[in-house]
Symmetry: C2
Subunit: 338 residues, 2 copies
DNA sequence: GTTAACGGTGCAACCGGTTGTACAATCGCA
DNA sequence: TGCGATTGTACAACCGGTTGCACCGTTAAC
């Protein structure tokens, strides 16, 4: 066990150890072409010797960047992450940023208190950019970010939002995803469809349903749409309720793969075979989709790629790029449940 | 709509506008007793005029603090927040910090990539303190934090961990909570108990089970312990499985209130009355507990207070306080399901 | 042999705040 | 009137890095 080091080594110490000036030490560590190979080697050795890591505070002041990007969450975290696919989105962000020296941190701002603190730190320029995971039109924070000119990426479609010229936007086309799933059902000849969706106030759920409806029309009656949570238990429970109603149906569109997993369990317990009696289509292409029996036909939402995209746009905007909007496309993954 | 401001006003501008020096302006804004009331008024007016907010980078360098506290999450966020009570813990942290000027940010470090980035920013001293929400013994990050001497608070009991003298610890006594729930069952005369718990690898689950066992012994046989998720759907599904087994039982200990809600639904559907036929005890004192019919008897885990405590300890440690360990106590909330 | 070109290094300024200390102005009191 | 005490302000150094520019010593070219 080494002794705890309380005072971090400074650049001056490295420079002294290497017998050069601070500026030379700095340039050597930043691999400037103006420094000779030999000197660089000496400085690097000295830096390693004393375990030198450039202090974020000094560096931030000098270069005008903190190298921290805030991932802003304006709804309760538990709500956001009850849909486990979100962590894939986050992974996408992290993956992309890990190539750079930027660090993403999650900033929860669901209460007024939290929003005020967040606002304050935005004004202080504690973060180089903001990725808003759940933007909604009325957020005062967006207004603040706009005024401050902080590079901002919105993840999610904002109906005709007034920030198009200041903020970037990334979203995947949920309506298209809904159409894909519904078209698959239709192509299979299914006529009496049931939908087991996530929470009814979730924008993605609304858009997907619109997609279903655009294709299926009367084949998906209002009474057959059930809103629930995102988990397999929720799907299981919902399907039990549907079976209790004794209605005729030959296809189930699910709001998530986990819901679909629960649905399949319930169907099997009721003696119904998938896909012989009933077709099931999931959403997300979650890991669980391949483990279902039968393997789940599902719609892949490119969450990870969305994260990559959001991170890249943020980096570009930090470098001064103009705001952009990009739409990610859904993809039907054909497996055996249809 | 005001024009976006791209260049933040600096202290020098405020000073110029108020006709004083930078130092006087700084002291006036920080309410130093050495500045006259009249001057303070003038400087504050000037600051408001140009919309001045002290730049975090400059300030951090001068005062040696970033005023950002990292909430470190070393497991996937979705896993952590599938238990929605965790957001209450986070709220506790935020609430407490909102009195100060500190901002909590969540740092996900579940992948190696993420851990490396986190490590780097710890070394750079990007954060004044770290609150580790899910510490586990082997984490290299803890070792790094120890070496760096970064004030760190661990949330959760770490079996005989070697960091007692460097890190603070806050945890609530899950075993005690288990005993409380089990004692209530016993006091009601229940003899054949079933437990529907959260994931089997969750330390809290393990501790609670130990508490159950300490009180109930043979009244809670191994075969009657079911591990599942935290949600009502999970509880519902688990109870279905138990009912299918046709075993005799008169009490159900649940790992969360949401599980309990699902359990009660399933019991009712099976024609069993709560609490006449079966007693049910939850865990968490989640909002849902009061909405159950009958209202749920449960064990309250002081998560919000735990958050307060963790935040306070972090602030104290930043000021130089020694590490401490504090154990929060569970509380049985008597309602009607027992 | 003088000078231009050039590679390598250091000085000093700068980023935007905070803070120790010196100094000027005002006041009270002898 | 003269002195010290008190108050309010400004100068300058500092936090820990980065970077423009001047300077030095070589070497090559004339």
């Amino acid at each position: 066990m080494t002794q705890p080091v309380r005072t971090a080594p400074t650049l001056a110490e490295v420079a002294a150890a290497a017998g050069v000036s601070r500026s030379t030490a700095s340039r050597a560590l930043n691999d400037s072409p103006r420094i000779s190979e030999e000197t660089k080697k000496r400085v690097r050795a000295a830096a390693k010797e004393v375990n030198f890591v450039p202090n974020a505070r000094g560096r931030a002041l000098a270069v005008g960047r903190t190298e921290i990007i805030a991932v802003l969450v304006t709804e309760p975290l538990s709500e956001l992450f009850s849909d486990p696919t979100y962590s894939e989105f986050l992974s996408g962000i992290t993956e992309e940023l890990s190539e750079s020296s930027y660090l993403p941190v999650i900033l929860q701002a669901s209460s007024t208190h939290e929003r005020n603190r967040a606002r304050e730190h935005f004004e202080r320029r504690s973060f180089d950019a903001v990725i808003d995971v759940s933007p909604y039109k009325g957020s005062e924070l967006l207004e603040v970010l706009r005024e401050l000119g902080v590079p901002t990426v919105l993840c999610g479609r904002l109906e005709g939002h007034p920030y198009r010229d200041v903020f970037s936007t990334v979203y995947s086309d949920d309506e298209e995803g809904g159409r894909f799933a519904a078209l698959a059902m239709k192509g299979r000849g299914r006529k009496d469809i049931v939908a087991v969706l996530g929470p009814h106030d979730n924008p993605a759920v609304v858009d997907r349903l619109r997609g279903y409806r655009a294709v299926l029309g009367e084949d998906l009656p209002d009474a057959n749409v059930i809103y629930t949570g995102w988990n397999s238990g929720d799907g299981y429970q919902a399907m039990h309720q549907i079976l209790a109603r004794k209605i005729a149906f030959d296809g189930v569109l699910c709001g998530s793969d986990r819901i679909a997993a629960g649905v399949i369990t319930a169907l099997n317990e009721a003696g119904l075979s998938v896909p012989a009696d009933v077709s099931v289509v999931g959403f997300d292409d979650h890991e669980i989709a391949t483990r279902c029996v039968p393997a789940l036909t599902t719609v892949r939402q490119p969450l990870r790629e969305e994260g990559h995209m959001a991170a890249n746009i943020a980096l570009d905007m930090i470098k001064g790029a103009e705001p952009t909007t990009s739409v990610m496309h859904m993809q039907l993954i054909q497996r055996d449940s249809l």
